[in-house]
């Protein structure tokens, strides 16, 4: 479902079409047990739908990364995703590229 690619200090993550509670555990697995100081590039190009749990999952990741000094970049958000991130204010916590 989620595609993960490690290289050096950058972990590239490609999210599936449906970003929802269905991938809750899998999504957590991306960042737990990683060394401090890595960078996550999360690719939204496949994402078609996204629910409130998805926002919650991003927020949990953000909280974890803050304490582990990791960077998170959200890549290729389509207008729908960008809209959800902005009206919810969740987007303001991340680097949107």
């Amino acid at each position: 479902m989620i595609n993960i690619n490690d290289s050096d200090n950058v972990i590239s993550v490609s999210l599936p079409e449906e970003f929802s509670y269905r991938i809750y555990q899998e999504f957590r697995g991306i960042y737990l047990d990683r060394p401090v100081g890595v960078r996550y590039d999360i690719d939204f190009s496949q994402v078609v739908s996204m629910d409130s749990s998805a926002l919650g999952m991003l927020l949990l990741m953000h909280e974890h990364c803050k304490s582990h000094r990791c960077r998170i970049r959200l890549l290729h958000c389509n207008s729908r995703v960008a809209g959800i991130l902005s009206y919810s204010s969740v987007g303001s916590l991340f680097e949107l590229c």
Partner: protein, 364 residues
Amino acid sequence: MSSILIVEDDPVTRIFLEALLLQEGHQVSLAVNGAEALALLQMRSCDLVLMDILMPEMDGYEATRRIKAQSRHGLFIPVIFLTSVQTDQELAQCLACGGDDFLNKPPSPILLNARVRVWLQRAELTNRLAIDRADVENVILRMRQDAQFDPHGLRVLMTPLGKATGDIVLSARRTDGVQYLMVGDFAGHGLAAAICGPLVSDLFYRLTRQDVPLHEVIGQMNTLICDRLPINMFLSAAFLELDRTRGAIHLWNAAFPPVVRIRDGKVVDRCAANLPLLGILPSLDIPRQAWGRRWQAGDRGYLYSDGSVETRSEAGEFFGVERLEAFMEKELFPGGELESLLTLLTGFRGKRNWSDDITIVEIT
């Protein structure tokens, strides 16, 4: 000590199984066909059933179907089929009728004991979780029974998927008669979302009693959720302040579906989101005035969570805002029941399951 029911018409197999299970320290009861098994279970439940397939009067498939139907809202009782049939289709039927596992006949003692042990453990865990869940639900239901809810001018339709819902409706009047209404939706579903309700509800009623302005109530609610709940529990909600005497309505919409106002059977305006989700940004500035309009007697306001508009048809189409607004304009005017929305949604979704709580509130 676990109690196991053996359903088997062949006496030799029955005695063999009984001896094995007694040796392991289980309590054993016996039935010679499905009908007798059901009669026995009526009198006394058991922890696990070993089920033959072909038996006179009632076969194992039918007996299993009935056992599972009867225990659907109660205990989980595993059923293990003992089968001498070998076709895949018949084995698949063992599972299709509600059975949990199957063993070839005659089973080796080692294999039988191993399977029985695993299923007894699983059943115990499942049943303990069900009891815990029921307990927590009762706690939440009790906390939610606040006599403080003021139904003045309201009609409310709330259909939680389970007993516990993440949707929340609060209403109270200040000492000067101005009414505050909040309709919200906590992130996620189920118990975790439901348990957040009482937390914000206490704050809402306490502050309204103290005549605190609504934008300050919202600000304090945001701080409370930030401080007290994990980051992934946040709230989208609409807050409405209605002063019927002065004829004024004010709205704050925190990432909630648009609030709709209807006059003479037509949508006259909508208040879309003008605030972010609550519980994420600790320092959130809530404006004193967000959205304000004149209110006339006869106006109707509607606040709804996204469950209804996101109901999908079998073809995958969303029910959508237009259908919902048409329902508000035509069906609810004059005097239609909110409940008829459920009929409409049920027809629309066809064989699909409900996926979210449905909440809609009308204020007049």
